[in-house]
């Protein structure tokens, strides 16, 4: 099957992930990432962002079960793939970057040996070619003296450098899709900005499809073309990033945006918004809106199935309220 230009690189429909039959970690998540597009998944910790990404890679820990209508990558059905086929895809066409650069490199090997291994595995490259490619990519991610870095061990590198190495390593085989799971969370603010700029530059140059997981709305505003706001295993609101930020509709999205101080808009001394409570654990058979316990606008009918509403364009959200609701009209 060949994918046409318009087809998304990755398309996930109605993904459900169940942890040991006791917790529904992801409940019917759908998502599409097109070539050259950055899609951000945003939400609090425990909303099912990372676990959705791991489901796409089929790297879920034992005892966690995924089901979906389809998970397609470049037209291929990932659900039907054997473990062997999947591992041929991982690191080759689909790459992943993790949150903790301090621990995602193996302390027992040099940078060069870890990087070239990926190319040797997928492309049957010989060590010298792979090393050349690694040096080229290290230079590309802005590491000076790549030749020297190749011979160093992870403990000799700073966190920011290690994350650059991870990015370079993810690019070894020219992937089509890059999944970045909170790639900047563990880094200093200044280094965060550098890494984000780097990801953006690489994504534009290489035409990657980038699925970026973050809990930082600032990152979303800066990086994404599309955003999916996740809450308790559901995408509660999705759309082009401009639409969602200009007209946030789901109470959770509005709540998240209220938590952020906006220069020139938030007055000194004025309290920031907050969302009371924390993300609930959703048992099987749960019905209705997962956010209703924390929602300011909750009503009795929120305990029933919630409609997916269209807010114009590609912008949709999962709530009983109309697109133009206000606090006053909801109450």
């Amino acid at each position: 099957m060949t994918a046409s230009l318009q087809d998304p690189v990755l398309s996930v429909a109605n993904l459900r992930v169940s942890i040991g039959g006791r917790t529904e970690a992801v409940r019917g998540m759908s998502l599409a990432v097109a070539r050259g597009e950055t899609h951000c998944m945003v939400g609090e910790s425990g909303c099912g962002k990372s676990i959705s990404a791991l489901s796409v890679m089929n790297l879920l820990p034992r005892g966690i079960i995924r089901t979906a209508d389809h998970i397609r990558f470049q037209g291929q059905d990932l659900l039907a793939m054997s473990e062997r086929q999947m591992s041929r895809l991982r690191g080759d066409k689909i790459s992943m970057i993790f949150q903790e650069p301090m621990t995602s490199l193996n302390p027992a090997y040099t940078i060069g040996s870890q990087m070239s291994e990926v190319l040797e595995r997928h492309r049957r490259a010989i060590r010298r070619q792979a090393m050349d490619r690694a040096a080229e990519l290290l230079a590309r991610v802005g590491i000076t003296a790549p030749g020297m870095r190749l011979g160093q061990y992870p403990h000799q590198l700073s966190g920011g450098l290690r994350q650059r190495v991870m990015i370079a390593m993810a690019l070894m085989c020219d992937p089509e899709l890059l999944i970045a799971d909170e790639p900047t969370t563990a880094l200093d603010v200044t280094v965060q900005a550098q890494i984000l700029r780097l990801l953006q530059k690489l994504q534009q140059e290489l035409g990657l499809a980038l699925l970026l997981i973050t809990h930082d709305l600032g990152v979303v505003a800066r990086m994404a073309q599309r955003v999916s706001v996740m809450y308790a295993g559901e995408v509660v609101e999705t759309g082009a990033v401009g639409d969602v930020f200009a007209a946030p509709t789901h109470p959770y999205t509005r709540g998240l945006l209220d938590c952020i101080p906006v220069p020139g808009k938030t007055q000194t001394g004025e309290p920031l918004g907050n969302i009371p409570g924390m993300v609930p654990r959703i048992p099987p058979g749960f019905a209705g809106c997962g956010f209703r316990d924390r929602c300011m606008s909750a009503a009795p009918e929120c305990a029933q199935a919630v409609p997916l509403r269209d807010a114009g364009g590609d912008h949709s959200y999962l709530c009983r309220l109309p697109p133009d609701w206000t606090r006053a009209s909801a109450a």
């Binding site: 790297l59 080759d92 903790e100 621990t103 490199l105």
Partner: protein, 292 residues
């Protein structure tokens, strides 16, 4: 994940008290000497260790009354040169120690890593095997095997190798459990690494420091067990010069010629002590994270 700190960044650079460094050095010297002696035994022996001379029975060591300079450590009850027999005995002890450790290491590490990494049923099975092994009395099984099969060097090595893997398995299992949740394992999976690759290339090198320590302890144990089996007459068959066998053969003469039993005893003690000191030193140097 802040455990990746300076201690790990600078392996072996921490300062230890002088006596511990001295102890490690002593261990290195003892084990190194034993290795060299074992390897170059034919060039070091002043006499043929098997040559008997009934005219020269039970000559005391050179520093005692009646000692002869040609037999530095004297001779045994049938006139064989004691120093030569000790030197060849080093060969047997080291050979058994190293080969038994390799055999048991292969078994124990494989089981331990697989169990610790995969967890669940696999781990239950490995734990069951370890428990079974721990409930087997070592000496009794070794005695039975030797009694059934007959004693030879190979049988002793295999028996010990097949019985000493439990500590390898326990340590490999626990450390593999700690490593399996680290991000670089997930990163390797996300980069398309196969299962075997992850176990052998990602997990094993990161738990190797613990396993090296276990290997030294097991080696000391194997050497002692061989001596014990040989003493009981079920280890290395005579006339091979095993230290345990030397002690066994000398026990009837120890009243009037105590050196025949003391010399191999002291050498055995020194070698086992050296191996243990080396193991402690390695633990201090490699296992910076063991103490935290």
């Amino acid at each position: 994940m802040s455990s990746v700190g300076i201690a790990q960044a600078l392996p072996g650079r921490r300062r230890f008290p002088a006596f511990r460094r001295l102890a490690t050095l002593l261990g290195v010297v003892i084990v190194g000497t034993a290795l060299l002696v074992a390897i170059f035994a034919p060039y070091l022996t002043p006499h043929d260790p098997f040559a008997q001379d009934l005219n020269l029975r039970l000559i005391p060591p050179v520093w005692m009354e009646g000692g002869q300079p040609t037999h530095l450590l004297g001779t045994d009850q049938i006139g064989r040169d004691y120093l030569s027999r000790l030197i060849y005995g080093t060969r047997i002890s080291m050979l058994i120690g190293v080969l038994a450790v390799i055999t048991s290491g292969l078994i124990g590490i494989t089981l331990g890593i697989v169990g610790g990494f995969y967890g669940g049923r696999t781990d239950d099975f490995v734990m069951f095997l370890i428990t079974c092994r721990l409930s087997i009395p070592l000496i009794l099984v070794a005695l039975t095997v030797v009694a059934l099969v007959g004693s030879s060097l190979a049988v002793v090595i295999l028996t010990l190798g097949l019985l000493l893997w439990d500590r390898f398995a326990v340590v490999a299992r626990t450390t593999a459990m700690q490593v399996r949740n680290l991000d670089y394992i997930a990163a390797a999976q996300a980069a398309g690494a196969s299962r075997v690759h992850i176990l052998v290339r990602e997990v094993l090198p990161n738990i190797a420091n613990h396993l090296v320590v276990v290997a030294t302890l097991e080696m000391a144990l194997a050497i002692l067990l061989e001596a014990a089996l040989s003493f009981l007459g079920l280890g290395v068959p005579p006339p091979l010069p095993s230290w345990g066998l030397m002690i066994a053969e000398a026990k009837e003469y120890m009243f009037f010629s105590p050196w025949v039993i003391m010399t191999p005893g002291v050498v055995l003690f020194v070698l086992v002590l050296g191996v243990n000191l080396l193991g402690d030193g390695l633990r201090d140097m490699l296992g910076a994270d063991l103490e935290r």
